[in-house]
Symmetry: C2
Subunit: 376 residues, 2 copies
């Protein structure tokens, strides 16, 4: 199915949309009511380029929910079961946000800019309304807003080299999930952009939180002029790369009816912490009936049904799927029904050549342990 | 710009998507994280068909936010500055939802199903998060959820005739914005669907709140088999028709920074009512600086800039625009800056043949008063 997207004021364009168009974008999705490119040349060509060179991504759709005021920490902590009581300024935190039932609202990167000033760099749901609703209902002393910030990601193995040319050698000192203001020489003088070592790939790179349109567009163009010899290209989060890397997508792999325990995000939960969080009680009591797992299928045929089965009984649904360019097999995420699954890891997958046997595994994929070697 | 849309599990398909595809949909938008068709043959062909015959629309993306419990009325009233204290069961209400600043959160159709049971049939923002945040923060006795309901609209001058064939003569008794349960003979026996006389066009018609997939798909097919002689077609909200009819679109014509006063929705506000509503104080005090108005431009050239000006100074932005098939002129909605506009109604519009003079007017358009006669 390759329908067209009707672009309107509601599917917001960004300061970089004209550049993304000029770079030959082939398809978009709509994410946080905003355009997000999904493909330039092809998923596979984009994948190899991302893994070998450097790409500049317009991820303006990673909207910031700004929470500012004396109750800012209190509100952020209420929204997440991850302990933020010792969080330091200038750090980023992957945060499951959950409601009182323990189910997911969003999974942003939280950025602590100051003691009373946080950004939530969100996935695709209106976290601003959730935060504002809580703050209004609890009469918290915070201002919740969506500031004019349009993140640009620079991703790939040559990202640090390119960023250093544009922002200077200090780029190398930024640690993973650290964020700091860097000066950029814009067309109207110097500006300061928050820059983090982060991004929605496992190929390394940075995210620049652009809050000045003219300087941001100038920076975009400079990343391309300075990166010509690095084979820099416009890119976007890549479906194949994110599945190989075990990166989940809210709305695809987890949603309003999934808890972070079911999604396997337990390392981001502090269920025994002494914190004031809305979801702690529900999550402490949860006895998960579902679990997000990896699926590996070595088959030349197409997968024709999202249901995976055991002896014909549905044991899970595929939530994201690709044929791995690197390993030549199907890789998928599957939301498994634990009561049907039991201890089985061998499952039936429907393909165009009949039922094939696939293998479930923990995530992220451990390719060596799975006996897979790169074919390219 | 005609890019492709990448369809994923996150851009949710509906029980009717395969039928919409089979009917030849040409373009989609994403609305409440769900596919919504925007065009079948062309905007103009779809327009004339809608105005002359009958169409069946998959508007599943009009998600229901269900609010149920002893505090249900209290929560709905808190969210809107419209007085619902005398609202009757079985009625629909167009509701601006506003935050404490008086700015818009959404503009749903509220449906009162029972004293303690409301649906908000929402435009494109996650009202569930706003309602749930308020309810959680205020510890209200309500359950807020998104039930599995997929509305289908039957719109056009022959809608009542078609609906009567499928649901019986009682359809004719349903008054505008009234809703009642009607029995439908589904493939697995009778089911009950809520049916309202409503819909996002001014051509008349109904919305059926399908909550049973098999029965809903059977009903869809029966609407087509029973309507063959009425020239029934699959359709969708039509850009041209909604502009001509003065129907606003959240995210296009109004948004988080617009109040319902600025959007001209004053007939839906009860600012002097003795009700407990979050936005009343802010709206009572508001001195609007913006105003949504109509624009009429008689020009063969294309409009090339969304800014409209007076003596070169920006006096407003076009938020939605079409060339009216019926009147042969450009019709637009413009968010005007009242300080620049003053009492002027004549404004400059940039077109491919230079600056043209357009005329501002009140909304909805009063074509006779504007001296316009149908050209077709």
């Amino acid at each position: 199915m390759h329908p067209q997207l009707s672009v309107s004021r509601r599917t917001r364009s960004t300061p970089f949309t004209s550049r993304v168009e000029a770079a030959g974008v082939k398809a978009y999705t709509v994410y946080n009511h905003m355009l997000l490119a999904t493909m330039f040349e092809s998923y596979e060509a984009d994948y190899w380029h991302l893994c070998e060179h450097v790409q500049v991504w317009d991820v303006s759709c990673e909207r910031q929910v700004e929470i500012q005021g004396s109750d800012a920490y209190r509100l952020v902590q209420l929204m997440t079961p991850r302990d933020l009581s010792k969080a330091k300024v200038g750090r980023c935190f992957y945060l499951p946000l959950c409601d009182t039932d323990g189910t997911m609202i969003n999974d942003p990167i939280a950025i602590k800019l100051a003691e009373d000033h946080w950004w939530l760099s969100i996935a695709d749901s209106d976290v601003m309304l959730w935060a504002k609703g809580l703050a209004t209902g609890m009469q918290l002393d915070v201002k919740v807003s969506e500031p004019d910030v349009w993140p640009v990601a620079v991703q790939g193995p040559k990202a640090e080299q390119l960023m250093s040319r544009v922002f200077g050698a200090q780029v190398a000192d930024i640690k993973f999930f650290q964020i700091c203001p860097l000066t950029y020489q814009g067309p109207n003088g110097p500006v300061s952009f928050q820059v983090a070592r982060s991004g929605w790939s496992k190929q390394g790179g940075f995210e620049i939180y652009v809050d000045d349109v003219a300087a941001g567009q100038h920076m975009w163009d400079e990343l391309f002029s300075q990166g010509a010899d690095l084979q820099v290209r416009a890119g976007c989060p890549n479906l194949f790369e994110r599945i190989e890397s075990g990166l989940f997508s809210l709305g695809n792999d987890m949603g309003y009816n999934t808890t972070p325990i079911e999604a396997g995000l337990t390392q981001y939960l502090d269920l025994s912490a002494d914190i004031d969080s809305l979801s702690l009680t529900a999550l402490r009591d949860q006895n998960p009936s579902k679990r997000l797992m990896g699926l590996l299928l070595d088959s030349p045929s197409n997968i024709t049904d999202n249901a995976i089965t055991i002896d014909g009984i549905v044991a899970g649904e595929i939530t994201s799927l690709c044929r791995s360019p690197r390993y030549g097999v199907y890789l998928a995420f599957v939301l498994c029904h634990l009561d049907v699954l039991g201890n089985n890891l061998a499952v039936e997958v429907s393909t165009s050549s009949g039922t094939n046997m696939g293998k479930l595994c923990e995530l992220p994929f451990d390719f060596a342990a799975l006996g897979l070697e790169p074919i390219k």
